[in-house]
């Protein structure tokens, strides 16, 4: 419970956690891909190629990557609208993600969902939800189903700081604890709802402490420390799998882009954004650790960046020539 171990070195931690060099580099690469995806999304939007809006998670990569590595690939994932990173780190096909992003028929949701509603049910990715907190109560059902079917998956439910003030948040935590459901609650606290600083809208912080009122073990950690995220998520998942009930982890992180594309960032200062970007950026921090420990050369960061960009650019090229859905099919998929 409570704070993370403070005195370990990076390498010590990595060894303890049994990470090989390749795995560490792979995690770094994934974070780069996520970053490049979000940057490209922003660029495409500026070029007028994206219909609607998007909610970019650049700056929150460590949470996504740490979480996905800490859990099983067949664990259920309930995601929120700022979920590209989680999707990518759960090994989604970037091409199909980009197609959905651009509303193409080949996209994960055949262009019907868009950025906010990407899902891949075949890999137990139960979709991103456009209603803040809307997916949280679904985890109760997933948890009940896991119990009824005697499975050993867990349900990872990800939501933001804003969602913690929705009624269903409390209802769900209550029932999850009551029935000891196998749910890992991840609260990605990026400090802001839409424009409201979490401190202005919550009577008592940290958010994670609310879990205590429901008897749920809780952790409040630095979400931009990938290994910290990994460790806590890994331990929590194990605990949950043993049947002891849900666990709540709040990860403190930050988003560089506005809430959505119509956000002009009037509610925070440029200084604040820059501080996070220069001193607390998760990719920067993890990269520095790798470099300091001889696992990566300094100039490799650029290579990884470019490699990530290449993957994203290929996805864009793929998606751009992919056909739009046929308008005559507009009424399909209303009913199964």
């Amino acid at each position: 419970m409570g704070e993370q171990k403070a005195n370990e070195t990076f390498t010590e931690k990595a060894e303890r956690l049994k990470f090989s060099k390749d795995e560490l580099l792979d995690m770094y690469k994934t974070m780069c891909v996520i970053r490049q995806f979000e940057l490209m999304a922003d660029k495409l939007y500026a070029l007028g190629k994206v219909h609607g809006t998007m909610h970019l998670s650049a700056g929150q990569e460590a949470v996504a990557v740490g979480l996905s590595h800490a859990t099983r690939v067949d664990d259920y994932l309930i995601n929120h609208h700022r979920g590209h990173g989680h999707f990518i780190s759960k090994k989604a096909d970037i091409n199909l993600m980009m197609c959905e992003f651009l509303g193409k028929e080949a996209g994960y949701c055949k262009g019907r969902g868009g950025s906010m509603h990407i899902a891949d049910f075949s890999s137990n990715n139960l979709g991103a939800n456009g209603i803040v907190g809307g997916g949280i109560p679904h985890s109760l059902g997933v948890g009940l189903a896991i119990q009824m079917k005697n499975l050993d998956q867990i349900c990872i439910t990800i939501f933001g700081d804003g969602a913690s003030n929705e009624g269903v948040f409390h209802e769900t935590l209550n029932m999850a604890a009551l029935w000891k459901l196998p749910i890992l609650f991840i609260c990605e606290n990026n400090k802001y709802g839409m424009s409201m600083d979490i401190e202005r809208v919550s009577a008592k912080l940290p958010i994670a402490q609310r879990a205590e009122s429901y008897g749920i073990p809780w952790y409040y950690i630095d979400g931009n420390d990938l290994l910290a995220v990994y460790e806590h998520a890994h331990d929590a998942a194990q605990k949950i799998r043993s049947g002891s009930g849900p666990v709540f982890i709040e990860t403190q992180t930050y988003r560089y882009f506005g809430h959505s594309k119509s956000d002009r960032n009037l509610y925070r200062s440029k200084e604040e954004i820059d501080t996070w970007r220069t001193t607390k950026d998760p990719i920067l921090r993890f990269g520095n650790h790798l470099i300091e420990n001889g696992l990566m050369k300094a100039q490799d960061t650029e290579l990884y960046e470019q490699e990530a960009l290449r993957i994203i650019e290929a996805a864009v090229a793929f998606a751009e020539v992919s056909p739009d859905p046929d308008p005559s099919t507009v009424a399909e998929y209303v009913y199964a």
């Binding site: 259920y76 309930i78 996209g107 994960y108 949701c109 055949k110 262009g111 019907r112 969902g113 509603h117 899902a119 891949d120 049910f121 075949s122 137990n124 139960l126 979709g127 939800n129 456009g130 209603i131 809307g134 997916g135 949280i136 109560p137 679904h138 985890s139 109760l140 059902g141 997933v142 948890g143 009940l144 189903a145 896991i146 119990q147 009824m148 349900c155 009624g167 269903v168 209802e171 769900t172 209550n174 029932m175 009551l178 399909e332 998929y333 209303v334 009913y335 199964a336």
Partner: protein, 328 residues
């Protein structure tokens, strides 16, 4: 054929399907030892245990949310919302989640869940516990809306609802619970989108649901002795709607009367009238289409007012007579 009550019919559908299909479970408030607010699940806890008769705290949105989550990963949940009025609390989970997921995920998610909800007035439960809100639910593409009026219909439709791959709102009128009707033993289902002609007639087509079907039938029997012969159609499922049966009936009779307890403005009578006037039945209308509905009021507490707020047999009789006489 045995005669059982509407409640018993519903319970037997639940029981039989839960025995057949272990994915089916019921989730709701007070459905265990208490047997549910209207006694529907009486005795089921003993048979199925608390892992399949799941009693919840008072958290309606999350009851529906839980059902959504369970359905999406392959279970067949049946959520019981104690009063239809409480669905207003749950509209995000019903309307933004359950109704939308199949579509917005490109057909890749299915949500095979049932929401059972007692609705309607006449028990003195007043404004917040007496509504008929089927119109709101009809308006959300992705949902199916079922309103059985007899024990026979209730059982057959409920089985279809449980087996349907879509979220189904199953609306039970409270005053029907104790009514009896013939229900065959053995398994049978009633398909959605098939209306039932509860009474054949020639002078007027009445479309009606829930408790109003019973009232209309009683009036029709009396009027038949005077040579007034009305046809009564019970759509049974409002979504999907069997418009063909209604169209053919109006072609036969030339006159339409829609009767529902739900209040008038934007009530589903307007939907039927729009369907008819856009159909080939238009050219056979020999009088203006009429509707007889609940008044645009919250349901009052006082018994006399409560009666006055929704159509009663005398209102139905008066309206039928007026239409047949050519008053409109």
């Amino acid at each position: 054929m045995p005669e059982i009550t509407y409640v018993e019919a519903i319970r037997s559908a639940l029981r039989e399907e839960m025995r057949r299909d272990e994915r089916v479970f019921i989730i709701g408030e007070d459905i265990g030892r208490y047997g549910g607010a209207f006694g529907v699940t009486t005795g089921m806890l003993d048979e199925f245990g608390d892992k399949r008769i799941i009693e919840t705290p008072i958290s309606e949105p999350s009851i529906i949310g839980a059902a959504v989550g369970a359905a999406v990963v392959g279970m067949r949940p049946i959520a019981e919302i104690m009063f239809m009025d409480f669905t207003l609390l749950t509209l995000d989970q019903i309307g933004n989640q359950a109704a939308k997921m199949h579509y917005m995920f490109g057909g890749k998610a299915t949500v095979p869940m049932v929401i059972r909800m007692p609705g309607g007035s006449g028990t003195g439960a007043a404004a917040q516990h007496s509504q008929s809100l089927e119109t709101l639910l009809m308006h959300l593409p992705g949902l199916k809306v079922v309103t059985p009026s007899t024990p026979y219909d209730a059982k057959g439709l409920l089985l279809t609802a449980i087996r349907d791959l879509n979220p189904v709102c199953f609306i039970e009128h409270k005053l029907l619970y104790k009514t009896k009707g013939e229900v065959p033993e053995g398994e049978y289902t009633i398909p959605f989108g098939v209306a039932d002609i509860k009474r054949d007639g020639t002078d007027l087509t009445i479309v009606s649901n829930g408790i109003m079907v019973r009232k209309a039938l009683a009036v029709a029997e009396r009027l038949a002795q005077e040579g007034i012969n009305v046809e009564i159609i019970d759509p049974r499922t409002l979504v999907p709607l069997d418009s063909e049966t209604i169209i053919n009936s109006v072609i036969k009779t030339g006159k339409l009367l829609v009767i529902h307890e739900a209040c008038e403005t934007a009530g589903w009578a307007g939907e039927i009238m729009a369907v008819i006037s856009s159909s080939r039945a238009f050219d056979y209308l020999d009088a203006p289409m009429r509707r007889l509905t609940g008044k645009n009021v919250p349901i009052p507490y006082n018994r006399v007012l409560e009666r006055a707020a929704v159509p009663q047999e005398e209102d139905i009789e008066r309206e039928i007579r007026a239409i047949v006489k050519g008053a409109y």
